[in-house]
């Protein structure tokens, strides 16, 4: 197992290298650079030249790439072109923690709500409980954050005054954005858990378990549930990577200083170092999450073994 994990981690290196290269080339290929314009106004070539010299954008491309890689190896992601005087390390370290906190709470919330709801719905298949939870799950899945966020804000902050409208820093400010995010994923998890559990309870080994006289509780908890979690765990990987590195919409609505907006704004601003760093971090998060998922499989299903 340990050897397997080490091998997988070593494999991150070529993957991340290729992603870095592709991102680098893509960013330089799209028209428009970081310093052509200020608002509507084009800058004189002399001013652009000074800016490009300062950030070494006048070096040959291969040199820029090599310098960048050398920086990444030393964990130095370079300066931001847009936020003058701040390094990408400053920006990421400030915002990633915030995004990860929000992501962790909402993920926890979505598992806490999603799993039991899904299990209950499956066990009481075609009952009112099942219909109700499916209905809620469909609503939760279909209402996007951009509607859910303002709705929750309107009800719980403006009308009831129970929570602050937005902001970050106090635990109470986490509630509304975490629920907005969590509602979406818990609906997803609930539906998947239900479908998966329904499939598993029809398996042969469940029949065997019942045949040997185990209680229904022991059958479900001890045998069915564990295996039914495999699809759920599979989708948890990308979700985990996604919410931990920040979500643009929810962070915008609730004015949370997270990393989500940098994915979008850095591209608009052609802030190359920030684009590169956010892409790399997201790729790393996906790779790590998938590794975790694969490791979890081994615990859930005794048939899966890694050599």
């Amino acid at each position: 197992m340990t050897r397997y994990i080490i091998r997988r981690i070593l494999f991150f290196i070529p993957v991340l290298f290729i992603i870095t290269l592709i991102t680098f080339i893509t960013m330089r290929t799209i028209p428009g650079g970081p310093f052509d314009f200020v608002g509507d106004k084009s800058l004189p070539p002399s001013v652009v030249a000074n800016l490009e010299a300062k950030y070494h954008l006048d070096d040959p491309l291969w040199k820029q790439f090599v310098d960048y890689l050398w920086g990444v190896v030393r964990l130095d992601f370079g300066p931001s072109y847009r936020q003058r005087g701040r390094s990408v390390n400053d920006i990421i370290s400030g915002t990633l923690v915030t995004s990860a906190q929000l992501g962790a709470v909402s993920l926890f919330l979505s598992i806490l709500i999603g799993l039991p709801t899904g299990i209950l719905a499956a066990l009481k298949q075609n009952s009112i409980v099942d219909y109700l939870s499916t209905f809620i799950a469909v609503v939760g899945r279909s209402v996007p954050s951009i509607v859910m966020g303002p709705l929750l804000m309107w009800i719980f902050a403006l009308q009831l005054g129970l929570f602050p409208t937005s902001g970050w820093g106090r635990p109470i400010q986490v509630v509304l954005p975490a629920v907005t995010l969590g509602a979406y994923f818990s609906a997803y998890i609930a539906r998947l858990t239900r479908a998966s559990l329904l499939q598993v309870v029809r398996e042969d080994y469940i029949r065997t378990a019942r045949a040997k006289g185990l209680t229904e509780r022991a059958v479900i908890v001890g045998h069915a549930l564990k295996n039914s979690l495999i699809p759920v765990v599979t989708i948890m990987g990308p979700i985990f990577a996604g919410v931990l590195t920040g979500t643009f919409v929810v962070e915008q609505i609730f004015a949370i200083p997270g990393m989500g907006k940098h994915f979008v704004q850095s591209v608009n601003n052609r802030d190359y170092p920030v684009v590169m760093a956010t892409t790399l971090i997201f790729a790393l998060a996906i790779a790590m999450a998938n590794l975790l998922v694969d490791i979890t499989y081994a615990f859930l299903d005794p048939r899966i073994r890694y050599e």
């Binding site: 428009g32 314009f37 004189p44 002399s46 003058r84 915002t95």
Partner: protein, 576 residues
């Protein structure tokens, strides 16, 4: 096994809760009831360094922290003294001498101890240092070009000349003298711009790029930086050593950085913000305008006032059929600007007849120069151009950058062209940076649209910044390709308009300058019709009744030192 996993989940929960509790509350003032203004900045200011600021948020912050030689009068674009007490211009208009106050101090505020340390007087040497630092190519300032009017500045900024030869010097500790390349009647406004403000040499040299962080920063304005939680919040506190501190009422400016106008509006309605719009964030969302106007309380808090910006459609003057000025005139006269404002924009914008907005020095009086909505005349012009009722008119393209607001405007205007002129105009969009690349005047003409949309906002309130810096064939970006000999604008041929805008920049007599600019606007809009001006922007703000005085600076940079708050009314409204 199950028990064990459950325990692990519990553990994760506990760790999460702990992680949350680590997130700390913002610092709370201990003093008895300071006067606090709560506002939104609209986003993270990209910099607080006056040499590097280019955007309205940074400029607003710099306005509170750093004084300029000159400033703008409350609510008007008139230049008034700030650091300077008086100034004079030599007869040839080239040498400007500013006498400065001698009672302004540099201060450093320690957010931990709340201690205000006096660092020394603000002198003419600091102005010289600031100007030269902005021009220094090492600084790589975007707005360095604004100072190119100073002798030797362009050469130094491009590395061809030395910083020692830049035309700015300290005559004595409190007198600074600028020598210009050309006479420029508008230089008093330039001298007050953030890029020309005195900068604290010692602090900059000590802390490098981090000199604008709380604790490091040394400032001289009415406020000092207490905290800057990047991308979340910023707090400024009143500077007790400010020369006019007795007349500053607001003790603390507590700013958030909310990027969503909907959220800002919710915070405002929840009394979390005292003001919105203008320099204080985004202002009410367009979707809320009807509701606000109908609401008896909110409607009183709404204020709509002119802003020094113009929205226009540019024609590519070398691309057929828009190489014919009659076609351009017809398209401009067929736009019903008032209807657009009433039905689409809803922000009481002002229909634009010419380029520069009212309030800009040299802008012609409203109604005297320009083209306005006149469907009959538009049809006649198109007929004269050889397309009666739009017959035989080729398909043409209007392009705008991706944005819901621009799309609504484009749909409305193309419908007007269809209705009045009988022509079909295709709408295309591009992402902002790609769009600006497309519009460059050397892009092959087949790749550019026939018509494009852009806006222009004043850097300083003078026509030179408008007709000359935008459309002069030599000085401006000239995206409309005026005076181009060939379609791709490899070569330009200046016309009377170009001569006039150059002459007006040099002219010393204000009345003569006004005359010249009026003629330039007439040539640009009526004769050549290089563009179709559409509307002048408005600033839409909301102000709680307890903010008893609120001023906007014409060009942004609202002076909070002049604002007033009724503390008791605010406390009562917030239930404190």
């Amino acid at each position: 096994m199950f028990r064990g996993r459950f325990a692990r989940i519990l553990m994760v929960a506990v760790v999460l809760l702990l992680a949350l509790s680590v997130v700390q509350c913002g610092p709370k003032p201990k003093e008895a009831k300071p006067v606090v203004l709560n506002m939104n900045l609209g986003g993270e200011p990209p910099t607080l360094d006056p040499a590097l600021a280019t955007d309205t948020t940074s400029v607003f912050c710099d306005k509170q922290l750093f004084l300029g030689l000159t400033a703008f009068e409350k609510d008007t674009p008139n230049v008034i003294p700030e650091l300077a007490t008086e100034w004079s211009v030599s007869d040839d208009g080239l040498v400007w001498t500013f006498k400065m106050r001698d009672d302004v101090k540099w201060v450093n505020y320690n957010p931990e101890t709340k201690e205000v340390k006096e660092v020394g007087p603000v002198t003419a040497h600091d102005v010289v240092y600031g100007v030269k630092r902005t021009i220094d190519p090492e600084t790589a300032s975007d707005y360095a070009y604004v100072l190119y009017i100073i002798k030797g500045a362009e050469a130094a900024n491009t590395g061809e000349g030395s910083l020692d030869d830049v035309g700015v010097r300290a005559v004595d500790d409190y007198t600074v003298e600028f020598t210009l390349e050309n006479p420029a009647g508008y230089f008093a406004a330039i001298a007050g711009m953030w890029v020309a403000r005195p900068q604290p040499k010692a602090a900059i040299e000590e802390h490098g790029e981090k000199w604008t962080e709380p604790g490091n920063i040394v400032t001289n304005g009415p406020y000092m930086l207490e905290s800057w939680e990047h991308e979340a919040s910023m707090v400024m506190v009143k500077n007790p050593k400010y020369y006019d501190a007795d007349n500053v009422q607001i003790d603390r400016i507590e700013m958030v950085m909310v990027q969503e106008d909907f959220t800002e509006m919710a915070m405002y309605e929840n009394n979390e913000l005292d003001v919105t719009g203008g320099d204080a964030g985004w202002g009410p969302p367009l979707e809320d305008m009807d509701r606000i106007k109908a609401d008896p309380v909110l409607s009183k808090e709404l204020k709509i006032e002119p802003r020094l910006c113009t929205y226009y459609y540019g024609f590519i003057n070398t691309k057929p059929p828009f190489d014919n000025h009659l076609v351009r005139k017809a398209f401009s006269a067929a736009i019903d600007r008032q209807s657009l404002i009433d039905n689409v924009l809803k922000g009481e914008q002002i229909p634009a007849k010419h380029f520069a907005c009212p309030g800009i020095f040299g802008a012609p009086p409203v109604d005297e120069v320009g083209i306005e909505y006149n469907p009959e005349q538009a049809k006649k012009w198109l007929e004269e151009a050889g397309y009666p009722n739009g017959e035989g008119f080729p398909e043409v393209t209007l392009m705008h950058n991706v944005s819901e607001a621009h799309a609504k405007i484009a749909q409305a205007i193309t419908a007007m062209w269809k209705e009045t002129l009988g022509v079909d105009v295709k709408i295309e969009t591009q992402e902002w940076k790609v769009y600006l690349q497309t519009l460059k005047k050397d892009t092959p003409v087949e790749d550019v649209p026939h018509i494009f949309r852009l806006g222009w906002c004043a850097d300083y309130p003078d026509e030179n910044n408008w007709v000359h810096e935008v459309f002069n064939v030599n000085a401006g970006a000239n995206r409309v390709r005026r005076g181009c000999v060939d379609p791709n604008c490899q070569e330009v041929k200046p016309s009377k308009f170009d001569e006039i805008t150059e002459q007006a920049g040099r002219e010393q007599d204000p009345e003569k300058r006004k005359e010249l600019y009026r003629e330039a606007e007439r040539l640009l809009i009526e004769e050549e019709t290089a563009i179709a001006p559409i509307y002048h922007y408005t600033r839409i703000t909301m102000t709680k009744p307890w903010v008893t005085e609120r001023y906007s600076a014409a060009l942004g940079g609202d002076p909070i030192k002049d604002w007033r708050i009724d503390v008791e009314a605010k406390a009562a409204a917030k239930g404190e």
